[in-house]
Symmetry: C2
């Protein structure tokens, strides 16, 4: 890609300046005339019947403009991407402590807050469903009438029970993973108002404006065309804003009051009320031959779904698909359950089921390598999926497969080569033990077979000869806006400064599916390239006529079209724009649509499986364990990542570094504790995420070029894979340092300390 000007180069983010200078307006910065403030009354109990709601006292409070309950919801009183089972406002039952019972719009936040305390709700508490394993049983109390099993996905290949018997080495463990909070900087919030055209406008940071629009239309009983959703800018999401949050409430209040209504959640309300990463229980039995060949994986995955569906089903399916890691194995039995409980709600979160299974399978690979006396990279190479292989769930791989390449790259890293030297403890601090750990992972790009998976882009020429591209996905920090600008600039031969990008607007940008599943660059990017190619045809045809030259004798130059071999005979884009206005009274506009290619098979009863395109990464962690306290410091990290190609080195590094640190939080610190349905650590003084002081002093990014022909400029996406295997790399490093295995993450100091204490006894 050396002949390129933008793609593959270090390109400053197009949103860097407005973000750094604070001129970009987030939803909490928006102020409208006559604006009201909303507050939400949430359930007092994690599981209870609602016997009575009396809001008369609240309504009578001066300054209160509206109080709404379930009776005020004009449409379907439920939302949810897959199953609309989460009430906008609860009617007869609450299912978790953040469930919404009533909402107030008032002249100030203080009045709204006071009004909440005047709403009388009578509850009858119900038995709690807390333990997802017990929730599965037929005698458990039920969170939903139809039972606690939201989804059961079972996949079987070969003869796993026979293979388990015959394996030379059997590794059998139960793993537990924590409930991770997305910890985006901007909490859920937004403003809804009725525009001059009478349409409902909902401005709230989210990941898919067109889907929000449809969900809101259903709840509010409005034609979707009469709703505009603006979901960009958004101050971080990581999957936590894929599902609706506060939008239906402010939409409802705006319709009711005919005034703009704004809400911004406090951090505590945000943590208590909305989506988290699903905690998993993972029961694995994995068999190897003496020579290291992986022969069987038998796993039961239990997902604590919390109270409502949202994306818990697809998350489970992805976990099932990724349960064996990126390895060849012929005997497979994966049995997954997504189970309703009263433990808050969980939904999409970066990695989408893969970080949970990666922790299990990569720990098992580390154990196997140790027991079989095989180098951990060699063991992974031996079993790694390659092009042409069948995946564990039986899907033939025909796209760019980077397992071996990322392993070979990581093997050459300084961290791996010097690991024996790096292990040596500081002689003056013998209680600090060091170790290096590795983990390999992959991540399906996009939504998988059977789900509509497409990219869309609208490209219009501007009066100045530049272009505006509108894509429905959003840039919540990962940098896809910049990537789209790069793709369009590169394709159009136009300086990137003259490319404008409109994201996340149901009116002005094309439906490009959700900003999730590592698919933003791949889908919206490809659509942008297609729209740009069409634009080039329009320009070429216009130039041909204006210059009275056949198309064949023209070519694109810098911001112009020129006669081949006659660089001085050209027409600039600006002049072409003038011509368009002069002759047609409008500027050209093209659309690009792109259907994501899918796998050839479809796994029955497992919507979205299998995937067809994958990103790959190998993670290294270099840790220091304080044997006196159990504290683990990650000194250094490295990741070799196959995302097809590097679109923007800056963004690539930022993704890897951010992913590594998020994975570090997942592996060492983060777990939202819910006991008796109550969140015990609902703020950042108790729910600890890695700070800059915790981050390793260096995270080496090793890009592995492995072009994916179907992608824009051969790019895939790396948003999730870069985070997925950091936790097992760290726990494997802990084992390398002090010889103990962690089967539960986060590996808190207490857990590591107790494991060392027990190890001393073993």
């Amino acid at each position: 890609m050396n002949n390129m000007k933008y793609v593959g180069k270090e390109t400053p983010r197009i949103d860097a300046l407005p973000k750094a200078t604070g001129t970009i307006k987030y939803m909490s910065d928006l102020v409208f005339p006559e604006m009201l403030y909303a507050r939400i009354l949430r359930s007092k109990y994690p599981h209870a019947k609602i016997l009575k709601i009396d809001s008369s006292k609240a309504k009578a409070l001066p300054g209160v403009v509206a109080v709404v309950t379930h009776e005020d919801v004009p449409g379907v009183n439920g939302f949810g991407i897959v199953v609309p089972d989460m009430p906008v406002l609860c009617k007869d039952k609450v299912r978790y402590i953040g469930d919404t019972v009533a909402a107030v719009a008032a002249e100030s936040e203080e009045i709204a807050e006071r009004a909440l305390s005047l709403i009388d709700v009578e509850y009858e508490p119900l038995p709690l469903v807390e333990d997802p394993e017990k929730a599965l049983l037929e005698n458990s109390p039920k969170v939903h009438e139809n039972g606690n099993i939201h989804l059961h996905t079972e996949i079987k290949r070969g003869d796993p029970s026979e293979a388990l018997k015959k394996a030379d080495l059997l590794v059998e463990h139960t793993f537990y993973t924590g409930r991770q909070e997305h910890a985006f900087l901007e909490t859920e919030g937004g403003v809804a108002f009725i525009g001059a055209d009478g349409n409902l406008n909902v401005y709230a940071g989210s990941q898919y404006p067109q889907r929000d629009q449809l969900q809101l239309a259903r709840c509010l009983s409005i034609n979707p065309r009469k709703i505009r959703v603006v979901s960009y800018p958004v101050g971080g999401a990581f999957g936590g804003k894929d599902e609706l949050t506060i939008q239906p409430i402010i939409g409802l209040l705006a319709l009711k009051t005919k005034r703009p209504v704004k809400i911004t959640l406090s951090r505590e309300e945000s943590i208590i009320s909305y989506w988290k990463r699903h905690p998993y229980i993972l029961k694995y039995k994995v068999g190897f031959k003496k020579d290291g060949t992986l022969v069987v994986v038998d796993a039961t995955l239990i997902e604590d779904k919390g109270a409502y569906s949202s994306l818990g089903g697809p998350v489970l399916n992805l976990a099932v698909e990724h349960a064996c890691g990126p390895y060849r194995v012929d005997n497979v039995h994966i049995d997954g359950y997504a189970v309703f409980t009263n433990n808050g709600v969980a939904g999409a979160c970066r990695g989408f089921g893969a970080p949970q299974t990666s922790f299990a399978i990569e720990t098992i690979f580390d154990i196997a390598a140790e027991k079989l006396g095989i180098d951990p990279i060699a063991l992974r190479k031996k079993n790694a999926l390659r092009n042409g292989d069948l995946t564990p769930i039986g899907n033939k791989l025909t796209t760019s497969i980077g397992t071996i390449k990322v392993l070979e790259s990581i093997e050459k890293s300084a961290l791996w080569k010097n690991r024996n030297k790096l292990k040596l403890a500081d002689p003056k601090k013998q209680w600090l033990k060091r170790g290096v750990g590795i983990a390999l992972t992959y991540q399906g790009t996009g939504l998988g077979v059977g789900l509509p998976d497409y990219g869309g882009a609208i490209l219009s020429m501007d009066e100045d000869g530049g272009f505006t591209v509108g894509v429905g996905t959003v840039d919540y920090g990962q940098g896809i806006g910049t990537s789209y600008a790069q793709f369009v600039a590169e394709t159009m031969h136009c300086p990137i400064e003259k490319i404008k990008v409109i994201l996340g607007d149901s009116l002005l940008s094309a439906d490009s599916g959700p900003t999730s599943a590592s698919r933003g660059v791949y889908t919206g990017g490809k659509a942008s390239v297609i729209a740009a190619s069409k634009m080039k045809e329009e320009l070429l045809s216009k130039a041909s006529r204006v210059m009275s030259l056949p198309c064949e004798s023209l070519e694109f130059g810098n911001e112009c079209l020129l006669e081949k071999n006659k660089p001085n005979h050209y027409i600039s884009f600006k002049s072409l724009a003038d011509k368009f206005i002069e002759e047609e009274n409008k500027l050209p506009m093209t659309e690009g649509y792109f259907l994501v290619p899918t796998a050839e098979i479809k796994i029955e009863k497992a919507e979205g499986l299998p995937h067809h395109i994958f990103a790959f990464s190998a993670h290294l962690a270099y840790v220091e364990v304080n044997t006196l306290t159990g504290e683990v410091r990650v000194i250094e990290g490295a990741e070799a990542v196959d995302g097809g190609v590097v679109v923007n080195r800056q963004g690539y590094e930022a993704q890897v570094e951010g992913g590594f640190v998020m994975g570090m939080g997942y592996g060492l610190m983060e777990d939202l504790i819910i006991k008796n349905g109550i969140v015990k650590n609902p703020n950042f003084s108790t729910y600890i995420i890695p700070s800059i002081k915790d981050a390793p002093y260096n995270i080496e990014t090793i890009p592995v070029v492995n072009p994916e022909d179907t992608g824009p400029f051969c790019a895939k996406g790396i948003a999730e894979t870069v985070m997925v295997a950091t936790a097992p790399a760290i726990t494997n490093a802990i084992h390398d340092a002090v010889g103990v295995r962690l089967f539960k993450i986060p590996a808190t100091p207490e857990a590591v300390y107790m494991a060392m204490k027990r190890k001393a006894i073993d």
Copy 2:
């Protein structure tokens, strides 16, 4: 007990001679005039709807006298000791492959057999419930309408989750135990006929004639007084004849045909159709302090109930009670599920839930001893329950507690003292490795709190001056008939030859509860002693009048009453009998009833818990493992057993030896394999039990005297405890020999071989 003549002495079995000479008549030896032969049509599918049954062709076959289906059952079409959910003849659904659909009575077995093939049954197969863990889930197909959870028992003490976190050593494993066949010598069979008095007589070996009588009355809609059940002699039972089997069918056919009807099951039909030991899945987490103190047991027990209830609930409760072994522990969480499946049927079997949990907890103690570097006996002593302690489920021990005594006794055995020397392999056969293993256990005697638990005996004087004692329990090989004779002879000062014993007859023997739960000697024995004491009063009073002497000056001598200090002035029992007939025209008869003392607390929702009286045993196994094949030979065994006192040394040794070998089968060989609802090894050529060639050349019996004041002559019972811990003693010995742990029994050669192979890799 040195001053005794019979109790505590080696006494030949009273049934030795008739059994050895073949003069005793078992049910299959009975032939009546005009007798018909019955055969049963069993289900073709393990789970199916019955759409139609057409028996017209069978009825038309010459020689067929009756064909019965569900339509012919006059009473409740169901039986079962706890819940009558097993149909006499299935109506609309079959739930396992042995379920009864129709039955034929014909002039010969051949005709009956042919008739079965002429019965047309139309089925609609239903999805199978095979895996008891999956059967628990709410989305599982259901074996019974009310769901697959037959019983859920949960017991919690202290703070187990906190204790698990703080334990210095955590041992966590999942254990699996096999489905053991009782393998009694005499298969299920019997004869039913209508007697001259018009009453229904059912002669079929079983464990509790009075309960059979009531169950039959309910099914056949007859006053129980019009039914006589004779359940003795019985050629072995081990719990497998506690529940009804073929009795309702032959009873029904006898009523229908007014002729005697006989059935004797083939071995295959016996194995396929009736009760087995429940397979268990046992998930244990056990914590110890560094010094060996047991601090917490957290266990989930899953019982594969098979298709019908029978005694699966009580078995589960006993498993829950015994889940921690005979050890003190303050933090306990035991969660037990008895789960319906289509895997045959399971019910009572010697040990009744304890062998399953003993395998788990005694393996864990062995692991802990190894890891903590503590001698395995010392570790058990440290934690052993003692008098005054609370049991794991919170019951205060106030009866005779033998843990320390049996451990001290086994510690002095040659096998234990010389174990290091015994471990040495034959230098010429280095592939044969040897080891010694220990396990400790206990077993509740009787039915536990809240269930009617009593002994009863009728004692009558005979014309010859001897006595006849009638007890409803049966002697199915364990020797209780001889014990009762000993107790009566000893109490009455009468030679044992003159004591007759009537067992298992609903008409002639007193209701003494079931012959199960190690309770035969204790309950019926105590009742016999009470009846004998009353008889002595009758004799004393009669002698006093006959001899014109005050009672105070008389005492009992050998078969007589005599004047104290005047040995020549006496009246013999024979003369007393004559006097009774002369004066009263009848011989004296007394009854003894005895209510089993129970624990002071009652565990809510856990019927039968806790127990009050316990037997204890420590088991040793000395094994040789063939490292080339995985075969395990048990060279020698030893058991130190606290059964209160030894009633009969011969019977005691036979119980210990028999129990050890049955436990050996359980630990090494026996598992009835059911796949897709079909029994894969339904005969003794494929279901292998230990033969005399497999039995150890010596099993040392070490009786530990620990008198239980409430028992007859201070005896308890040893029937189950002697079998319970043999399997873990053997698997612990295998570990001692070759260093591998078995978490699943039976430890077949394949399993041991694979474990060694894997160990070599570890």
